[in-house]
Subunit: 447 residues, 2 copies
């Protein structure tokens, strides 16, 4: 018997917990789900004999260590900044740990210790990061095995809304932490293009998007996602002239979102004191550098954005209520918090809404004197607002990884991300059973 | 006898220490100067019988408290984030404290405790903040006493270079922490205009400057300085429709500096890995969104900035070496650190250089049915790179404040900034003896 401990029972945990509990009998697992809110944990294991709910607080040192000691494999779904408190305990006590979060520099510094202890810390084991790594490396390794020379890797992912549930002008709804969507992209994005580094500061990120088409689904915009360059090392690849990871949105989103960046409404660093005495109108005017009298607020905003009032960005903003004479319901909130609060009800997933994951890899390579372009794309739709494609594609890879580790099929040790065949082959194969299926296309570029 | 303790013996401490030591005999003071670098402290008190140098480390709790207990008045010139460690000890032990640093929310929260203990915490007692507060309030209170109704306060300060030492196209040299100059303005500036709040995010701060002339000195650009709105409360003023505090630069500076903001070169949040393998050329190209082949880097940058290659911004940038094929001397440094390193030798004050403080207040008021505009400006020049106007105008107000407190002439208690007549009247009066002298002009606006 193997004992699995899942830490965190929030929205993103459901698919993982169900994956584990549905196989608990067959795999002879006991599955413990811990959360600060024990009711939440109880709800998630309900109806499964082998599921156990406990109250878990990462700050209770002794209890945390006892729990880890009592289990064989730990999956941490805690917020990223709390991970070190779990991973360090796993190292001390001697347990494998799996997480969908980004592997930080601090995590990497424990690589040798995990290796020496014969333990695996598998990070970035969800969707993005996660399935993106696995599917990219599967293609890349296959091309290399065929003798190809990779010249460009472009890898894009978006958590979007399925066309059948898409009924707003932004073509977007929240399937992920709303405040993180509002703050997305702050800092400087980095990637490689034609052997040269490119840096994109936040103030230009949403104006530098590129547009890509996916058959049957139309046009998507892509903006650069954080630091792509570090992944060349992490992928154990060198000398790839073009390498970029990006985030996908529906056409028109980036221009419209850029209005908020230009205005300064995504700043989370200071409070608008007494915001509840202002309307959205007032706040907009307060952020506009010039407001010409005799012009409407809408016209002044269009002037500021250097677009016509009939531009689709203007209708997107109007649909959000930006020009409404309605009081802001928050007292001392940052612009980013006010924006999140405005967006939340408008971009809310309705109970029957289906979300949609889109992933697109475009990989160029040379083989036998020809230049090939390899395209792979993935579309995954959710069932409803509870069982989202987002939760599935984060939870299933974690669950499959638990199974592989539990079955002793993974030899990798140390602090890793899923780039090795022994991981991505079985994980991607099993994901296909769930309908997580890429469409592949390889063509020779002429010219 | 009164014992004065000055904490921090850096560049900005010289004028203060000399002010105190030159009056120590007459006022019957003993002056102790503490710094982590005792040699620095020794150098500053050299030749003065009543000056004593000690090694001081704010982290050594017991020694710190003993020192504070052994003195009557404490002046803290430590970096702002270390202040609380001194102010809290002053409160505990029962000593007055004076500092040129901004008064934080944390400081304000100790107001009642300082009041109850019969102690004064006088913050923002330097130049800007400091002399700006005092000179503004002196004018404002005078107008109010004459029955005037203030409708606008605009208060601007710049630490610049005197015309006779001005030999670079930026018309700027460092008289203040270089990295703080590079990072200046990050966040969102706030002010009041015609009874409406205005917010200016960093990405627009340097394009929204206004230009003002000062007789004999020509044109200056002003950009909004941090949060002006909180000063309405701090000044104990209400219902002033227009209120803005700003930073002054020479004409042409803001447009040129904005090139760095647009490029993303003022980001201090991530390292350019292996920057030493790049030239400034390379780095510039890496930050440019598009570089058209067949065009020079200079032309591509001009396109990006939407200016002609003959624009003065381009010559300013070229003068810094931005287009030079020279390797960056730093290994893993942030863009902001690389920029600071590039600027430091170019904007260095030469030994005989004179710096120049410029301050300008423009205050509108109504009196007897007329609208007046009151202008006050201040020009203070330094002697040389050691005895700068910057160091003088920060150090002298602190020194005068020590004297007033020591003589029992200040009744204010609590956490304050210098807005009360009992402080600004004697301080501004004595500053005049040092040549810190405002030019005043009051005119009736027609129309």
């Amino acid at each position: 018997m193997k004992k699995i401990l899942v830490l965190g029972a929030g929205k993103s945990a459901t698919s993982l917990i169900h994956y584990l509990l549905e196989r608990a009998e067959q795999e002879d697992w006991q599955v413990t789900v811990g959360d600060r809110d024990i009711e939440l944990a109880r709800h998630k294991v309900e109806g499964f004999d082998r599921g156990h709910a406990i109250r878990f607080d990462v700050e209770e040192e002794e209890r945390k260590e006892q729990l880890i000691r009592d289990h064989d494999i730990i999956v941490s779904l805690l917020p990223a900044f709390l991970h070190p408190k779990v991973s360090k305990a796993c190292l001390k006590i001697g347990r494998h740990i799996i997480t969908p979060s980004y592997v930080s520099k601090e995590d990497v510094s424990m690589n040798e210790d995990f290796e020496k202890a014969g333990l695996l810390f598998m990070g970035e084991m969800g969707l993005d990061p996660g399935i993106d790594h696995m599917s990219t490396l599967q293609i890349v390794h296959d091309i290399e095995n065929r003798g190809g020379n990779i010249t460009a890797i472009r890898s894009f992912t978006g958590g979007l809304i399925a066309p059948e549930s898409d009924n707003n002008p932004w073509n977007y709804k929240f399937t992920w932490s709303p405040i993180n969507v509002v703050l997305a992209g702050q800092g400087t994005a980095q990637y490689l293009k034609d052997n040269k580094r490119k840096y994109v500061p936040y103030n230009r990120l949403f104006s530098l998007y590129e547009t890509y088409n996916i058959a049957d689904y139309g046009a998507f915009e892509v903006y650069a996602n954080r630091d792509s360059i570090i992944y060349l090392d992490k992928y154990e690849l060198n000398n790839i002239p073009t390498f970029i990871r990006g985030t996908m949105r529906r056409q028109g989103y980036c221009d419209a979102w850029n209005a908020f960046v230009k205005l300064g409404w995504t700043d989370n660093g200071f409070p608008i004191v007494g915001a509840d005495q202002l309307t959205y109108n007032d706040l907009l005017e307060a952020f506009l550098p010039k407001t010409e009298n005799g012009k409407s607020l809408r016209e002044n905003l269009a002037d500021f954005l250097d677009i016509d009032t009939s531009h689709e960005t203007m209708s997107k903003l109007a649909w959000l209520g930006l020009f409404d004479n309605v009081k802001i319901p928050l007292k001392n909130a940052s612009p980013a918090e006010i924006l999140k609060d405005l967006l939340e009800p408008k971009w809310k997933l309705e109970p029957q809404d289906k979300d949609m994951i889109v992933m697109l890899h475009i990989i160029d390579y040379e083989l036998n004197g020809e230049t090939h372009r390899y395209k792979a794309n993935l579309i995954v739709k959710g069932q409803d607002a509870e069982n989202t494609a987002m939760a599935h594609t984060v939870g299933w890879p974690l669950g499959i990884m638990v199974k592989l580790l539990s079955q002793g099929k993974i030899k990798s040790r140390g602090v890793k991300i899923p780039i090795m065949p022994e991981v991505y082959e079985p994980v991607l194969k099993e994901l296909e059973d769930f309908g997580v299926l890429f469409t592949h296309e390889d063509s020779v570029l002429v010219g």
